[in-house]
Amino acid sequence: MTVTGWLFDAYATEHGATVWLIDVDGRRHRLRYPFRPAFYMNLTKDEERFLHSVRGRLPGEVALRRVSKRQLYSRAAVEVLEVSVQNPLLFQRTVHALSKHFNFYKFYGADIKAMQLFYYTTRLFPLAYGEYETEGETLTRWTLLDEPGSDRYDVPDLTVMTMTPSMKLFAPKYQRSLEIEIAVDGVTRVLQQSDPLELLQQVDHYLRRYDPDILLTEYGDASLLPLLASLAQQHRFPLALNRDPEAPYITTKPVSYFSYGSIKHRDGVFELAGRWHLDKENSFIMGEADLEGLYDLSRLSQIGVQHQARTSIGSALSSMQIAWAYRNDVLVPYKRPVKEAFKSFATLLKADRGGLHFMPPKGYHEEVAELDFASMYPSLMRNHNISSETIDCVCCPDAKHRVPELGYRLCEKHTGFIPATLEPILRKRAKYKQMKKNAPTEELRRKYDRMQTGLKWILVTCFGYLGFKKSRMGRIEAHESVNAFAREGLLRAKEIAEAEGFTLVHAIVDCVWLKKEGAVRADYERLAERIGAEVGVRISLEGIYRWILFPASKMDDDIPTATRYVGVYDTGEMKVRGLEVRRRDTTKYVKRMQNEMLAVLARGRSIAEVRALVPDALGVVRSFAEELRRGSVSPFDLVVRRHISKDPYEYANRSVNAVVSQALAEAGVQLSAGESVEYIITDASGKRDPQKAKPLALYALDDGYDAAKYTEMLCDAAETLLGPFGWTKERIREMLDPVTVKRPAGRAAARRAAKERQLSLVLR
């Protein structure tokens, strides 16, 4: 039989893989596919004999055969032993058992997940459209009518059921009782947990009735699904969370772990079989690019949709690189990375310079244009064939193509794996941006924007320093090379601009800010075209600013910082980068004030006009400070969010983080290092109240807040904008009449916010 449709889900079982298809008529098919994941070992004859002798003692059956592969860096052919594991669920345990007998550097591709090997070796990918041949319940072969890099594809109609805690103010971890809201088919129902069995029956009823493809939750990983699953187990109730009744859930526990000098926290995972569980609270990519961006990324990275939603964005590119290796019969290094080549300190000084920055003169500037290179780093890597194995390759000892300043040779015979994996991303992103531009409807415009955003994140996050120095297939010289080309490009842009009479105001890495008396849009566009043609990377006019502010650094008053600015384009649109309003650690209240100040200043069409608006902007500060002093600010606007670096009782000091996480621990909320806490500052000095701050979940309205501390935050944010006009934070504070306010009028505040009934439901 032929099923024409999409690959929906796939997961490992003891017999191979279970594969779910959705056909063009909307029918769901569960099929088996015999699949044996394999890793490789480079052994001497003696070691190989030894492996045969211990074979019977491994956790499961393995098949051994000699195969020919290529080394990643030298491209040399090498004969290795392929170890196929008959039961995919025993793949990692088999590697583990063998690593007791063989050193880690004997292995290749031994830490890749069995399911990823399924995708790499079959070349299937999530949502792949094709004709799938079946015999009984077994998938036998297929013809794909689709490819991962395609930019026009259909997605099957998927049923979505949302399941959220109905009380949304706090994460369920902070709540004692649970109400669940289920929405499907445009109808929302609230289920209550008065009787657990009843709750289970209701949830089960909706799951069976609607049989959703996607269960979309908030906090599903951390609490909702684990709670439902454990209730079901307690009551021996067959809850239909999985579509496949025979398969287990795919779960991991939350962990705090220590790596590369910092503490990280990872939430637990609760994935389903035959149905996707997507947790909005545990997915960076869904927040940035929604479902469309997620599907697009998943297809490209060959990582299952549920897994792609949860994994870091960097693993998408890493997966594409590994897929490239399997397609090209190249061994994937296991643990053992390539080392940095020896270089003299003199070369190190040149190589380590990073991107080029020209510091802007701090303060306000007018009639400045911004030109941005599009995807500069990845484009340079593609254009110049920069890759871990193409730098100083063995095949091109006389290569003419060299890295500027550093002189590294670049391969002229083979395309490197980094350019090869970047190519489809760059191509697709350019296409989506174009489709967005030409979209006939607003809805389509937004869709293509989300899809290009998903890809943008791969391109942005994967070119950091870390991506190169620590990744298994990365190499630091690749990072140095792309930086050297970028510096050359930026310098060239500056030269061209200056030769045409423009002045460079500021430049960072891949953006330049220019100025020329009387220049108009067309002049800048012409310039961009010339620069783009010479540098080989597209550069376009982002806009012309009526005014732009480069504020002084908070650390050192005299230097502006390269990545903080705000400006108003000639279209009236505002662009803000790195200021308090854009920062995650700023309280809502401060953000609101700075936003209102910006709205005032945006009315100015020149620096002179902005100067004239300063009194109005100060008025905004005054009214915010007064509201603080009256005690009438909603505490929710004063919530500070910080990551804790230690487990609650590991703190030796009485820092705010320490007192807050300890207070939570005493209230029974388990936090671990790497998680974030939210609190309200009640007395920053700790003089009146040694507690200093109250965690949001334990906050009561008569706890008040530290008005003086929050006023200080307002002054800081106001100084960022008004500093160039002589309004330092000290002067602003003086203007505000420095009466210290001990406590806000508790009763008035209590009355006002008593309406926020949510609080009383929490913990007390």
Binding site: N103, F258, K335, R336, P337, E340, A341, K343, F345
Partner: protein, 232 residues
């Protein structure tokens, strides 16, 4: 025995002759700047120095300044000091066991300096068994270098690990070395303490073997190793 000789001169003199040994210089964080001072001293009389940096502490700017202080063209120092950097313990492994001896021979160097030999072990992602295996291989390479008359100076600050049980690997590193120099702050002065010395039977040249000395104190004028390097 106490003297006011600068510590880098003392270590250089003690460590450089006879060649073919493994030394360990350890103590507080400033051992790394002291390491750069020793390097400058060495570059006055040796052809080149090769670094493996697992602590991200190699500092070309400081070396350039030290050259200028000696009225030497900074580039003559910068071009004779080589480095490969490691950011994971597995990179540390390849940096030392794969190609180091060939490189050292190629540039005709007699000295290898390893910064932070175990700093990268404070990492959940490196199993203890792998760590032990890598250190065993590293030891093999150091012995090989020693055999060909190349000395290795391991430079390590007191490792304060989050993974406490990993601190024991410091002892493994200590056991690899023939001589240990401890940098210690006592009241207002830094001291270099020579902790122990093999009787010389490992040395290539028996005649130059040092007698066993238990302790030698060198007072470091305060601040000598403390100055943070600036840009040249």
């Amino acid at each position: 025995m106490e003297s006011m000789q600068p510590p880098h001169k003392v270590v250089d003199r003690h460590f450089s002759a006879p060649p073919g040994k493994v030394g360990l210089l350890y103590g507080e964080k400033r051992v790394y700047s002291l390491g750069m001072l020793i390097t400058a001293e060495m570059l006055m009389h040796t052809r080149s120095v090769v670094f493996v940096d697992g602590a991200n502490r190699v500092d070309p700017y400081l070396l350039a300044r030290l050259a200028r202080l000696r009225r030497i063209d900074p580039y003559s120092f910068l071009e004779r000091a080589y480095v490969t950097r490691a950011y994971t313990f597995y990179q540390m492994d390849v940096s030392i066991t794969d190609g180091l001896t060939e490189f050292v021979r190629g540039v005709g160097s007699r000295v290898v300096i390893v910064y932070g030999p175990i700093d990268l072990l404070d990492d959940d992602q490196v199993p203890a068994a792998d760590a032990a295996e890598i250190l065993r291989r590293v030891h093999g390479t150091l012995a090989q270098l020693k055999g060909s008359g190349v000395s290795t100076l391991l430079v390590s600050s007191f490792p304060r690990f989050r993974l406490k049980e990993r601190e024991r690997f410091f002892d493994t590193v200590r056991d690899m070395s023939d001589v240990q120099y401890r940098l210690e702050r006592r009241t207002d002065r830094h001291h270099i303490i020579l902790e122990e010395h093999h009787d010389g039977k490992d040395h290539a040249d028996r005649d130059h073997a040092h007698p066993v000395r238990r302790e030698q104190l060198v007072a470091v004028p305060p601040g000598i190793a403390e100055r943070r390097p600036g840009r040249p």
